[in-house]
Subunit: 205 residues, 2 copies
DNA sequence: CATGGTTGGTACAGTGAGTGCAGTATTTAC
DNA sequence: GTAAATACTGCACTCACTGTACCAACCATG
């Protein structure tokens, strides 16, 4: 259901090699960031560890920091797909909560561990904040599909989007650090905030 | 009341000159960013327009982008002062809303115009997001003064802090763009979200 | 008012991220 | 089988930012 917008191509040996190079670069980048720190790692180190040239690194990632979140692009696409999958027939706030809950459920422990680690490195926090903005604008766009694009609706959509991502970020960083139930914590917070005026309670969950 | 923590020193000619240089750098930086764009402006341009060396620029600002928000530091300090001014005798969510409301009220039109302009430039959006994080952690710290530092409290404090700043950001960017009532919009959103479970309604406002 | 430490600014050399461009080799398409 | 597309390379370049040594004006103390 989520892949509806994307046809899976045959994937020849060229594309496979390209993805392998990219995966390799990200893997060595994250390993080196963890081992010796972000600032102490040069792009040249990463590239030569992955067996490619420095120039090639920038064919795969726009910045050094982007290599720490190699699957961000596809994750956003997946998120948007899931969001749009329910439009425009359901209560948007309800659907948003369902999709967010599903996303937080599929956040596996290794990803969560990497998240809490990376959120301590200032440069990577910046990169992470940048990725969050992609989610925010996706959510705002989705809500405006239902609410329209009048200034008041746009403001409300953006405020809700920022709120949802803000709560998710808090749940991931604090909850992940202390081993709390990330999904439950985020959902509980959102239910308190949006429970009455924005949608009906989530009895089905 | 807000200056309680900071003694105003005599301010000799040396300090005055230093502030003048800093003000001058920021002024030319913002002017050049507006006129020709952020990426198209080099630090050397800014420095020589202000009549100082490139190295001096970095004695006043840590990055090129920071020159676009020259008073961020003192504004955060002022915000924290006002927050702590009410601790720990009042309902923290109530006090937070009062302080935030006061801050949004003192956001004059020229600042608002600059904000909406700068939020369109990706590099400056990043810098702005970085400054927002200072507010977020200030708010979270304040709330934890009242709620304690247990993981659940920490999570809730961070979630609320991210939410408050997220709503303020939406109100400033969308509201500022369309000439809406920024303060009223933000306050209305926050009242909807935090009205019942977090504090009592703000009858006094 | 002398003098010595402090400090705002400068000059210079260097590191490293990121880009443009020209070229090579392999792969894919017709 | 040939030609266009493309993953990658090498090189030269710009520019943000830093470390260091230095100068000159200030300020505090006697």
């Amino acid at each position: 259901m989520a892949q509806s917008l994307h046809t899976d191509r045959p994937l020849g040996p060229r594309e496979r090699q390209r993805r392998e190079t990219r995966r390799n670069l990200a893997e060595h980048a994250i390993r080196l960031f963890k081992a010796q720190g972000f600032d102490e790692t040069t792009v040249e180190e990463i590239a030569s560890a992955a067996g490619v040239s420095t120039r090639t690194f920038f064919l795969h990632f726009p910045t050094k920091a982007a290599a720490a979140f190699p699957d961000h692009g596809e994750r956003v696409i997946d998120f948007v797909d899931r969001l749009m999958d329910g439009a425009p027939h359901v209560n948007p706030m309800f659907h948003l909560r369902v999709v967010l809950r599903a996303r937080l459920e599929t956040t596996d422990p290794s990803r969560l561990a990497r998240y809490t680690l990376l959120s301590r490195v200032p440069e990577l926090r910046d990169e992470d904040a940048r990725t969050d903005r992609d989610y925010e604008s996706a959510i705002a766009d989705y809500l405006m599909l239902h609410w329209g694009r009048a200034p008041e609706a746009e403001l409300r959509a953006n405020a809700v989007a920022n709120t949802v991502i803000g709560v998710a970020r808090a749940a991931l960083s604090v909850g992940g650090e202390h081993g709390l139930d990330v999904r439950g914590a985020a959902d509980d917070m959102l239910q308190r905030m949006f429970g009455s005026p924005f949608d009906e309670p989530l009895h089905s969950l």
